[in-house]
């Protein structure tokens, strides 16, 4: 069986896989990183989004063998060792950007890639378009967009602290 070496959240793993094994299967079933979800398994919903070499990708539509030698970041790799959340995670918490939470790991991973690739910041419209590959069956997009808009200012260093959500 093929052997692949992946650096996942900074830790190197060498695992045996079948050629047909999907990256998400290796992450969830072999490395037990179950934060990455499988929603549709047809590359539409984005619940399985992880970063590969810094780019957001749908881990249900990549073979583990295609990732040999690459750097993977999953939702488990975002928070600091002391538990301090990544600014995007903190923004999702602050803005209550989730309802059932199933799509959240993929939303957060996609959102971080989007923010990283738009150093000048994104408008609400650009954020919504950028999230095209992530579906929320609770239709909780509104707070997700608010969270990303707030997090980008922190990630780009424009503000020191996350803007607090308005009390409603």
């Amino acid at each position: 069986m093929p052997q692949v070496t992946l650096t996942v959240n900074g830790t190197k793993h060498t695992v045996e896989v079948e050629a047909r094994t999907l990256l998400v299967e290796t992450l969830r079933e072999q490395l037990r990183l179950t934060g990455t979800h499988v929603g549709c398994d047809t590359s539409q919903c984005g619940a399985c989004v992880v970063h590969m070499g810094g780019d957001s990708v749908k881990s249900c539509t990549i073979l583990a063998v295609q990732c040999d030698g690459s750097e993977i970041t999953t939702i488990e790799g975002l928070a600091a060792a002391d538990g301090t959340l990544h600014p995007m995670q903190e923004a999702f918490r602050e803005y209550h950007a989730l309802q059932c939470g199933f799509c959240t790991p993929g939303m957060v991973m996609s959102a971080i890639d989007l923010v990283n690739k738009h150093p000048d910041g994104m408008s609400e419209k650009e954020i919504r378009e950028g999230l095209e590959g992530n579906l929320c069956r609770c239709t909780g997009y509104h707070n997700i967009v608010k969270a990303i808009a707030a997090a980008q200012d922190v990630m780009h260093g424009r503000v020191k602290e996350l803007a607090r959500a308005a009390a409603e």
């Binding site: 093929p2 079948e18 050629a19 047909r20 398994d41 047809t42 590359s43 984005g46 989004v49 780019d55 957001s56 990708v57 749908k58 539509t61 990549i62 073979l63 063998v65 295609q66 040999d68 996609s110 890639d113 989007l114 950028g130 095209e132 590959g133």
Partner: protein, 265 residues
């Protein structure tokens, strides 16, 4: 998904050798179409030949009056390439609308072209721009390459290696996306090229991407949205399905052609 052998050659020559030895092997680049097809067991290759290790297939460069885009160049790279934005801005803008962010981070121009999905964006662009598709053994004009729905002139085991695109005087693109799948229901790419005005249509043709010659003649005489507004598209050549009848698509083609001319300026 059925299992298969996996190869990752480091050169085109090695990839072609593996593919020649096994006609049931399939090349994979981004895998954005092949992997979903394998999951559905629509295809059962004996081996998958991963092209991603072939450095010579990557990148965008200017070569005289043409852009040369390596087959493994991802949609995201075309969308953000300074060279593409400078010489064919519409092509960069079009690449930014393919699939979604994650698809653009993986999917490649060579894969899209070799698959020739009737709703894909690149085939219309390359047909309108008069591009040449370079393979491991020959060069083919876009009109000779795209032969029908999901069909190309590629032989079994033949690989697309690069796309040569003559830089047009002007080009524009517009598509009507299906509101759910976001695939093109009708997309029109217009270009003023050195060999005249060319108009290509995706998403609507019953036999895949095609040139709309009546619109080309109208735009050659008068480059304006009004010029194509009066051109009736023959619904008999178009695809009808639950998303829209052939007659509706014929109407969309005209509307998208007008918008594409406006986009081109």
């Amino acid at each position: 998904m059925y299992d298969f052998a996996y190869h990752k050659p480091a050169s085109v020559a090695d990839a072609v050798k593996i593919l020649a030895a096994d006609p049931d092997a399939r090349p994979i680049s981004g895998g954005m179409t092949l992997l979903p097809a394998l999951k559905l067991r629509l295809n059962k290759p004996t081996a998958v030949v991963d092209l991603s290790g072939i450095a010579e297939l990557r990148g965008v460069k200017r070569d005289g009056d043409s852009l040369v885009i390596g087959a493994l160049t991802r949609h995201y790279e075309v969308a953000t390439s300074a060279e593409v934005k400078a010489s064919i801005p519409t092509l960069a803008a079009m690449a930014a609308t393919i699939g979604d962010t994650q698809v653009r981070n993986r999917g490649t121009i060579g894969g899209s072209v070799a698959n020739n999905d009737p709703s894909a964006d690149y085939p219309a662009a390359l047909l309108a721009l008069g591009a040449t598709i370079q393979t491991d053994k020959r060069k083919l004009a876009a009109e000779d390459f795209f032969t029908g729905m999901f069909t190309t002139a590629l032989d079994v085991g033949e690989l697309v290696t690069a796309i040569h695109i003559p830089i047009p005087k002007k080009a524009g693109y517009a598509k009507m996306r299906n509101p759910a799948s976001r695939y093109s229901m009708a997309g029109v790419f217009v270009a003023q090229t050195a060999s005249g005005v060319r108009v290509a249509v995706n998403g609507a043709g019953a036999n895949g991407v095609f040139r709309e010659k009546a619109m080309e003649a109208a735009l050659a005489a008068n480059w304006s949205a009004d010029a194509v507004a009066g051109v009736k598209v023959d619904a008999g050549l178009l695809n009808g399905d639950i998303h829209g009848s052939a007659e509706y698509r014929a109407h969309l083609v005209t509307v998208m052609a007008k918008r594409a001319v406006v986009d081109a300026g």
